[in-house]
C-alpha cells in the first residue's frame, strides 16, 4: 500500500467511524431532540410527567376563546387524532391563527395544558393572497363535493 493510499483509507475510516458514532449518539438522545410532543403522544403518556414540555399541533378551528378576564386565551391543539385543551395568559404571536400550526410550552394541570409561551409554527408555503384565496375556494368546493357524496 502506498502511503497516499493508506492516508486516504485512514481518512475514510475516520469519517465512517464518526458517522457511526454520531448516529448512535443521536439515537440515544432522540428523546431530548424532540422539540415538542403531539397531542397523541401526550394522550399516550409519552410526554414527561411533572415538568414543563412543549406541545405542538394545529389550532383547532373555532376553538379560540377569550376568557372574561380579557388576558387568558383558551384554545384546542390538535393533531387530528387527539386534541388537548390549552390555556394561556399573554400576547399571542401575529401568525397565531385557527387552523395553523402552533408550539406551546407549559405543563399539564388536571388534563388541561397551562402554557407559559405560545409560538406560531408556520408552513413552508409562500404565495400571494389571491392564490391563497383560490386555494381556499378550491378546498371549500372539494369539501362541498365530499359532503354531497357522503350525505347523498
Amino acid at each position: 500500500m502506498k502511503p497516499r493510499h493508506r492516508r486516504i483509507a485512514l481518512i475514510v475510516a475516520g469519517v465512517a467511524g464518526l458517522a457511526l458514532a454520531t448516529t448512535l449518539v443521536l439515537q440515544a438522545f432522540q428523546q431530548n431532540l424532540v422539540f415538542f410532543f403531539t397531542p397523541s403522544q401526550v394522550a399516550a403518556n409519552e410526554a414527561p410527567q411533572g415538568r414543563a414540555f412543549r406541545v405542538g399541533g394545529m389550532v383547532e378551528k373555532g376553538s379560540v376563546k377569550r376568557q372574561p378576564d380579557g388576558v387568558t386565551v383558551q384554545f384546542n391543539v390538535t393533531d387530528t387524532a387527539k386534541t388537548i385543551q390549552v390555556a394561556y395568559k399573554g400576547v399571542l404571536p401575529d401568525l397565531f391563527r385557527e387552523g395553523k400550526g402552533v408550539v406551546t410550552q407549559g405543563r399539564l394541570e388536571n388534563g388541561r395544558f397551562v402554557a407559559s409561551e405560545v409560538l406560531a409554527k408556520h408552513d413552508e408555503n409562500y404565495m400571494p393572497p389571491e392564490a391563497a384565496d383560490a386555494v381556499k375556494k378550491a378546498q371549500a368546493t372539494n369539501q362541498k363535493a365530499v359532503n354531497t357524496v357522503v350525505n347523498k
Binding site: R4, R7, I8, I11, G14, V15, L18, A19, T22, L26, Q30, L33, V34, F35, F36, F37, T38, G56, L92, P93, D94, L95, F96, K100, V103, E117, V118, L119, A120, K121, H122, D123, E124, N125, Y126, M127, P128, P129, E130, A131, A132, D133
Partner: protein, 256 residues
C-alpha cells in the same frame, strides 16, 4: 509511451498545473473581479425581484421578504463548509499545498454566511414565530456549524507551521461534515419549530414563481460573491505563505 504529455491525460487541460500556488495566483487574480461583478449584478437583480416583483405573502405579509437573504445564506453556510472540507481532505490525501490554502480561504466566508443565516433567522423568527431563538434541532445544529468554522479558524491560527495547521484543520473540517446532513434533514427527522424545506430536488417548490425566482437569483449572487471573496483571500494567503520564494519577490517588484 514516454512521449505522452500530461496535457492529453485529462481532456486537453492539465488541471494539476493549477495546483501550484505560483500558477494559481494570477488565475485567481483574473477570475475574482469577474465573479465580484457577476455578484453585484445578481444582487441588484435579485433584490429588485424580491422587493418589487414578488408579491406579498398571504400568511406572513411583508416579513417573509427576509427569505431572499436568509435561505441563500443558509445554503451557502452548508455548501461552503462542504467545499472547505473537500479541499481540506484533498490536502490531507494528496499533500498538495494549494488545497490547504483553499480550505483556509473559504472558512471566514463560510462563517460569515452562517452568521448572516442565524441573524436573519432571528429577525424573521420574532415577527412570525414570536421568538428570536429556540433550541430546536435546526437552529441548534446551524449554531454548531458557526462554532465549527470558528474552531477551524482558531485551530489554524494557533499553529505556527502552516502545513501542520492545514493538517489539524483538515481533521476538524472532516469531522464536522457530519453536521451538514444533520442541519439539512433536522426538519424532517425531528419535531422542530422551523418549517420544512420549500425547495427540494424531488418536488416543485412550494412558493409562488416570482418569489422563487428572486430567491434563486440571490442564491447565485451569493455563490459568485463567495467565490470572489475566497479567490481574493487565497491570493493573500499565497503571498503570506510563499513570501520567501523568488516568484513572489519578483511579483511584488512589478507591483511597485
Amino acid at each position: 509511451m514516454s512521449s505522452a504529455t500530461p496535457q492529453t491525460a485529462s481532456g486537453g487541460i492539465n488541471w494539476f498545473k493549477y495546483s501550484s500556488p505560483q500558477t494559481f495566483f494570477p488565475l485567481a487574480g483574473t477570475l475574482a473581479p469577474w465573479f465580484a461583478a457577476i455578484a453585484a449584478v445578481l444582487f441588484v437583480a435579485g433584490l429588485y425581484i424580491g422587493f418589487f416583483v414578488a408579491p406579498t405573502d398571504a400568511q406572513q405579509g411583508e416579513s417573509y421578504r427576509i427569505i431572499f437573504i436568509h435561505v441563500p445564506a443558509a445554503w451557502m453556510s452548508m455548501l461552503i463548509y462542504l467545499a472547505m472540507a473537500f479541499w481540506a481532505g484533498m490536502g490531507l490525501a494528496f499533500n498538495t499545498r494549494l488545497s490547504g490554502m483553499m480550505a483556509t480561504a473559504l472558512a471566514p466566508t463560510g462563517a460569515l454566511f452562517t452568521f448572516i443565516a442565524l441573524w436573519t433567522g432571528a429577525l424573521w423568527g420574532k415577527p412570525t414565530w414570536g421568538t428570536w431563538w429556540v433550541w430546536d434541532a435546526r437552529l441548534t445544529s446551524e449554531l454548531l456549524l458557526l462554532f465549527l468554522y470558528f474552531g477551524f479558524m482558531a485551530l489554524q491560527a494557533a499553529m505556527d507551521d502552516p502545513r501542520r495547521a492545514d493538517k489539524a484543520g483538515a481533521v476538524l473540517a472532516l469531522v464536522g461534515v457530519i453536521n451538514i446532513p444533520i442541519i439539512y434533514f433536522s426538519v424532517k427527522w425531528w419535531n422542530t419549530l422551523h418549517q420544512g424545506a420549500s425547495v427540494s430536488l424531488k418536488s416543485a417548490p412550494t412558493m409562488a414563481a416570482t418569489m422563487f425566482t428572486g430567491m434563486i437569483v440571490m442564491v447565485f449572487a451569493c455563490w459568485a460573491y463567495a467565490i470572489a471573496a475566497a479567490l481574493w483571500r487565497v491570493r493573500c494567503i499565497i503571498l503570506e505563505r510563499e513570501r520567501r520564494s523568488e516568484w513572489v519577490a519578483d511579483y511584488l517588484e512589478t507591483q511597485k
